[in-house]
Structures are given as structure tokens and as C-alpha cells.
């Protein structure tokens, strides 16, 4: 047990290291003017996708339930946080308002997580996936039909407080909370539940409350990501939070490796940058994006592909894949 903990700690430290080094490189590039405006414009979206992917990974990877309603929680958080920011724009300074907005967005999303989670988490597998998908769509429809959200025209006037540094700090906080949670007593209970429900229950793990805890935590960070999103653009429309968005987040999680935080971070970066980097291909952009996605998925899932990746000394992806193998062993030991 102790050995596993040390392994996990070391693993986490490597992940922090990767993120901090990447941040440092980008920060230097921005400071020295090497980064084009185009690059700078996608830094915040990268942070947002990392938060979304890491929080969804908690539900999909560690809880083991397929949730397709992540964009719904993101939109609830975004609207709550942005509405708060709009109404307090004249009263509070940005340094107080923005963190408060994020907390409010997160909490409101978490409340919705509880409301949706209580009935939904009685289900599992395909049923749960479909019901969360429906819940996300309901949230979107309600937002379009409400008056104070701006309806189809969107919500305008949110102060544009998001920037890369804040995004990075929130990414670190998200990583810190979720990684510690996963390695904690509660995290072990959740993983045990994923691997064998009956065994976990017989050991005294309260299935429903732990299930809900992980689900709500995922919703909270999705809400925070939503607030970050809403503060980055001058308009917030419900259309961007449709099921395509939920699936995009799921794609990130699956590509990075289910249950691997580091993988989620790396694949969030790749998936966000890829369509932008392909702008040079003009009309064929989305076609090439789709093909690249298929190739990456195939490469990622085949034994041969993993071999090639690790042989190429592709540290990030390679070690990530090895890591996944190691995780399986760890689970074996736990049982």
C-alpha cells in the first residue's frame, strides 16, 4: 500500500512538472513576443478544456460511469457566474468579482449535479449515458427559453476578465483537488466501486453517496470552466453547450486514456490546438481534423501503436501509456 502511494505521488509530481514546464515555455514565448496572436488566442480555451477533461475523467475514469452531460453543467456554471459578474460589475473590483463568480458558477453547477445526480445515478452504463445526455439537452433548452439568460441572442456584457495566468492557476487548483481526491480514502472507495461494486459494498463503501460525490465534484469543476469560458468572450450563447461539446470533452478523455489525469491534460492540449493548427488547410480543415482524430485513436488503442510510441521515445505519450499498464497492476494489488 505504502509503495503504491509513493508511486502515485511520484506520478502526480511528474504531471505537475509537465504542466508547469509547458506554462513556463508559453509564458516566455508570450513575453518575448514569439507567440503570434493566434497562439495567444487559444491559450485560455486550452486551460478550459484541461479543466473540463480532468473533471470529466473523475466521473468517466475513476467512477467508471459514462456521463454525456458535462457541457450542461458547464453552461449552468457559465450562466450563473456571468450573471453574477454582470450584476456586480460596478460594485466589485475584478480581483474579487472573478474568483467569486467562479465559486458561484461551480456551486450552482454542483447543485445541479446533485439534482440531476440523485435520480440519474440509480442507473448505470448505457442508461446513465443517455439520461445525462438528455439532462444536458434539457438544461440547454431551458436556457434558450428563459428571459434573463438572453435566450437565443445570448448573454452579453460579461466583463472579460479571463486570461492565461488565471486559467493556469485554475488548472493547477483543479489538478490539485482532483488528484488528491483520487489518491485519498474517498478516491480509493470510488475506484474500488468501479472495479467491483459488490466487493466494495461488502467492505462498507456507501455506493450512492460516493457515486454522487464524484459526480458532483465533476459538475463543480465543469461549472468553474464554464465561468472561465464566459469571461473570455463578450457573448455567451447556449448553442455552444450542446451535446457535441459534451462528446468533444469525452473524446479528450478517451484519447488521453480513461483514468489518466496526465493523459487528459496532454490530449486536451492536442485536441484544442489541432483544429487551429490546421487553419492553413482551409476548406479541408475539419476533414483532416477528423482523420487525425481517427489515426490518433487507432494508434493509441493498438498494442503496436503503443510500442511504436514508446520506442520513439515519445516521453509524454509513451510514459502515459506505460503508466496505464502500471495502474492496472496497482489495481490488481489492491484486490
Amino acid at each position: 500500500m505504502g509503495l503504491n502511494e509513493i508511486k502515485a505521488k511520484k506520478n502526480d509530481l511528474i504531471t505537475y512538472g509537465i504542466v508547469i514546464i509547458l506554462f513556463a515555455i508559453v509564458a516566455v514565448m508570450v513575453a518575448t513576443g514569439m507567440a503570434t496572436r493566434h497562439m495567444q488566442s487559444i491559450l485560455v480555451p486550452v486551460c478550459i478544456n484541461i479543466i473540463l477533461a480532468v473533471s470529466l475523467n473523475l466521473v468517466v475514469g475513476f467512477l467508471g460511469e459514462l456521463s454525456l452531460g458535462h457541457a450542461g453543467f458547464m453552461s449552468v456554471g457559465a450562466y450563473a457566474g456571468c450573471l453574477f459578474a454582470i450584476y456586480t460589475a460596478d460594485i466589485l473590483p475584478a480581483a474579487v468579482r472573478f474568483p467569486l463568480a467562479m465559486i458561484i458558477g461551480g456551486v450552482v453547477a454542483a447543485v445541479f449535479g446533485v439534482l440531476i445526480g440523485i435520480p440519474v445515478l440509480r442507473l448505470s452504463g448505457d442508461y446513465l449515458a443517455i439520461v445525462t445526455l438528455a439532462a444536458g439537452e434539457i438544461i440547454r433548452s431551458v436556457i434558450i427559453n428563459l428571459g434573463f439568460t438572453g435566450g437565443a441572442a445570448g448573454l452579453k456584457g460579461t466583463p472579460q476578465d479571463s486570461n492565461f495566468i488565471i486559467g493556469f492557476v485554475v488548472v493547477l487548483i483543479t489538478m490539485f483537488v482532483i488528484m488528491n481526491f483520487v489518491n485519498s480514502k474517498h478516491g480509493r472507495a470510488i475506484k474500488a466501486m468501479r472495479d467491483n461494486k459488490i466487493a466494495a459494498e461488502s467492505c462498507g463503501v456507501n455506493l450512492n453517496s460516493y457515486k454522487l460525490l464524484a459526480f458532483v465534484m465533476g459538475a463543480f469543476f465543469a461549472g468553474v470552466a464554464g465561468v472561465l469560458y464566459g469571461h473570455n468572450y463578450s457573448i455567451l450563447t447556449a448553442d455552444v453547450f450542446d451535446y457535441n461539446r459534451s462528446i468533444e470533452i469525452l473524446v479528450i478523455v478517451v484519447l488521453g486514456g480513461i483514468g489518466s489525469i496526465r493523459g487528459s491534460i496532454i490530449s486536451a492540449i492536442i485536441i484544442t490546438i489541432l483544429p487551429e493548427a490546421l487553419r492553413g488547410f482551409a476548406d479541408y480543415r475539419m476533414l483532416i481534423y477528423a482523420i487525425a482524430l481517427i489515426v490518433m485513436m487507432l494508434l493509441n488503442s493498438s498494442e503496436k501503436g503503443r510500442e511504436i510510441l514508446s520506442k520513439l521515445n515519445f516521453r509524454s505519450l509513451g510514459s502515459l501509456l506505460k503508466n496505464r499498464g502500471a495502474k492496472k497492476e496497482v489495481q490488481g494489488n489492491d484486490e
Partner: protein, 382 residues
């Protein structure tokens, strides 16, 4: 050992390639190419709304081509950079940044309103002139540096109510609109408000969304039961084509009327359904007249009939040209942006969507025509 070095070299080469691909994707700053004015615009070229983005792109392309063939303006050639934004605000922001990297000095904003708001927010910081062809939400033209070619949604809705009342086209009006679309919902709201103000009776408001935009039998039945003598359709041509053909099948014989979004409905409905469109009214600044030079040139170039999006963006480029001629500015001027923005309020453009002038608010002053469809052709209605 040697093998290891090779592996490392390969890894480095791969990373360099990836970064390189990204960099070229961004495009490098195109220095000070003295005699070229880079005009940047974005729109959905892929995805659900791609027909609008492609129309805007083609309209602008045609205008740029014509202007360059005629020798440019003030010794300057126009160059169009058009990026895909999938009608998504996030993508529009990075599309704008890409174009800024490419040396954009005048913008066309983004095709759709939501995306345009993020593009305009960036443009406001840069202070460049933006002439947006088709972003019809009021806030899009709020900054000082943004001018608009199309009507705003509220203006169009209020104007439609006014015309119906004045010309006595109908007394009991039913509205079918797309609740999930900002353009449609915006016009509907203004229409209903104005109707209440001038005592025009609106008997029913029937909504649909972009998830349910092919079968309209429920809405049409409700319209029929409401006893309306006019149906107002503040929607786009594709949905209107469905509504009109379905109305004919249901035997609903009420007068239909639409806004500028209805332009193109004849093509969308197809020749087999022309009879369903008989007598439909459109309140629009632009309709594709077969004998107009613009329509002919557009058909020669792209093989399709231009819609209002193409016409608006064609006019936008000519407005930029007019502003350059008026101010005598060239892109190398240090006060190019200020000169251009100031000139916009002084020019008059005889465009394909009517004769336009602008004031400081950025809204165009132009008229809309009422046209009627007869035998699959547009004729003016009096």
C-alpha cells in the same frame, strides 16, 4: 548508442514538425506589403450554418476581384483573408487573431451575430474599421469602429409590422419563428412589440427550434385554427420552403410574408414546388433580379444565385472601397484606421442592396422593398 541518437533526433524532428505546422497554420506577419490592403472576415465555412459563411465569402471575393481588375483603389490592391469560424464565438476569436497575424487592416467581422460579437470586441481593441455584412444583432455595431450593411433584427421586425399596417396587407397576423435562432427571435420580438403599439392584432406566435425544423404541421394547424389572414415568417429560406410546401399540402390558403431571410426560397423549394410559393411577400433590401450585373457576375463565377448574405458582403467591400476613395488613405498611413472610420460617415454607396449612408451609430440608412413571388419570379409589389 547510435540507434538511440537516431531515436532522439527523430523525436526532436517530430516535435519541430508539429510546432512548425502550428506556426504556419497561424501564418506569419505579412510585413508591410505597401500596396495591399488586407481585408479579413470569418464565417461558418463548415458545419450547420456553412451556407451563410460561404455566401459571404463568395460575395466579398467577387467584389475584391472586380476592384482589383479595375486597378484597385488609391494604387492599392485588396486582398481577402477569410477564415472558418463554424459560427462559434470561440472559433471566431482565434479566426480574428489569425487574420490579425496576417496583417488585416479592415475587417468584415463575422457572418453570424454571436461570432461577430467576439470578433468585434477584438477589433475594438485594435481600432480597425469593421464593416460587417450580415451580423444583425444590435450590439454588433455598438463600437465606434463598426459599421453594418444589413438591417438590425429589431429594425426589421418593427418595419415589417409598420408596412403590414400601412399597406393593409393583413389584420390578424400569425407568426412562425425559430426560437433558437437569434435573428428570428430578435425580429419576432420587435414585430410583436411594434404590432401592439400600432394596434395590429397578432393572433398567435408559433415557435420551433433548430432541433425540430422540418415538420411544421403542428404550427400550421394552430395558425389555421387561429383565424389569421396573414402569416409572418421572420425565418430563413430553408425552413420557409418547408413551411410553404407543407401549408399547400394542408390546404392552408393564407397570405405569407417574410423578411430578408426569405430571399432564396425559390431555389430552396425547388421547381416542383413553385406553386406553393405563389403570392408570397418578401420585405427585403435585396432580391436576385435576373438582369442585374451583380447576379450575372456571381452566377458566372460560382454557378449559383447570390442570396442576401452574398449581396451584403459584396456591398461591404464596396463600402470599404468608397471610404478609401473618400479619405484618400493608403494602408501605410499611420492614421489609416482613423481616416477610414471618419470617412464611413461621409460616403454614399450605391450597392446591390440599395443606396446606403451611415451615421456614427454604424447603422445603414437604406430602404427595403416589398416584392412578391409570381410564377417563381420576384416582382415588385405595390
Amino acid at each position: 548508442m547510435k540507434k538511440n541518437v537516431f531515436k532522439k533526433a527523430f523525436a526532436v524532428a517530430m516535435s519541430v514538425m508539429m510546432v512548425g505546422a502550428f506556426m504556419t497554420g497561424c501564418g506569419s506577419k505579412s510585413g508591410s506589403d505597401e500596396n495591399v490592403l488586407v481585408i479579413g472576415g470569418s464565417g461558418p465555412l463548415t458545419g450547420d450554418y456553412s451556407t451563410y459563411g460561404i455566401s459571404v465569402k463568395q460575395g466579398a471575393e467577387l467584389a475584391v476581384k472586380e476592384i482589383n481588375e479595375a486597378g484597385g483603389v488609391n494604387g492599392t490592391e485588396f486582398k481577402l483573408v477569410f477564415e472558418d469560424d463554424m459560427a462559434d464565438p470561440t472559433s471566431a476569436a482565434s479566426a480574428y487573431a489569425t487574420m490579425a497575424d496576417n496583417g488585416m487592416q479592415v475587417g468584415l467581422g463575422a457572418t453570424t451575430s454571436g461570432a461577430c460579437l467576439t470578433a468585434v470586441a477584438e477589433a475594438e481593441k485594435d481600432g480597425i474599421l469593421v464593416v460587417t455584412p450580415s451580423a444583425s444583432q444590435v450590439e454588433c455595431a455598438a463600437p465606434e469602429n463598426v459599421f453594418r450593411i444589413c438591417f438590425t433584427d429589431p429594425l426589421q421586425g418593427a418595419y415589417a409590422a409598420q408596412v403590414i399596417k400601412e399597406k393593409n396587407i393583413g389584420t390578424k397576423v400569425a407568426v412562425i419563428y425559430d426560437k433558437s435562432n437569434d435573428y428570428s427571435a430578435g425580429i419576432q420580438k420587435a414585430f410583436v412589440d411594434k404590432a401592439a403599439e400600432i394596434n395590429l392584432e397578432v393572433v398567435t406566435n408559433q415557435a420551433f427550434t433548430n432541433q425540430s425544423n422540418t415538420d411544421f404541421s403542428v404550427q400550421l394547424q394552430a395558425v389555421k385554427n387561429s383565424g389569421a389572414d396573414l402569416v409572418f415568417l421572420p425565418i430563413y429560406a430553408q425552413e420557409a420552403a418547408y413551411i410553404l410546401t407543407q401549408a399547400q399540402k394542408l390546404g392552408i390558403n393564407i397570405q405569407f410574408m417574410g423578411g430578408d431571410g426569405l430571399d432564396g426560397v425559390i431555389e430552396k423549394a425547388g421547381e416542383a414546388n413553385v406553386s406553393a410559393l405563389e403570392d408570397v411577400l418578401l420585405l427585403t433590401p435585396f432580391f436576385a433580379k435576373d438582369d442585374s450585373d451583380f447576379v450575372k457576375a456571381y452566377r458566372d463565377e460560382y454557378g449559383t444565385t447570390p442570396d442576401q448574405f452574398a449581396a451584403d458582403s459584396y456591398d461591404a467591400v464596396y463600402a470599404i472601397k468608397a471610404a478609401m476613395e473618400k479619405s484618400g488613405a493608403v494602408p501605410t498611413d499611420s492614421d489609416f484606421n482613423e481616416k477610414m472610420i471618419a470617412a464611413m460617415t461621409e460616403i454614399e454607396v450605391e450597392g446591390v442592396t440599395g443606396t446606403m449612408t451611415w451615421d456614427k451609430s454604424g447603422e445603414p440608412d437604406k430602404t427595403a422593398y416589398i416584392v412578391q413571388i409570381k410564377d417563381g419570379k420576384y416582382v415588385e409589389f405595390n
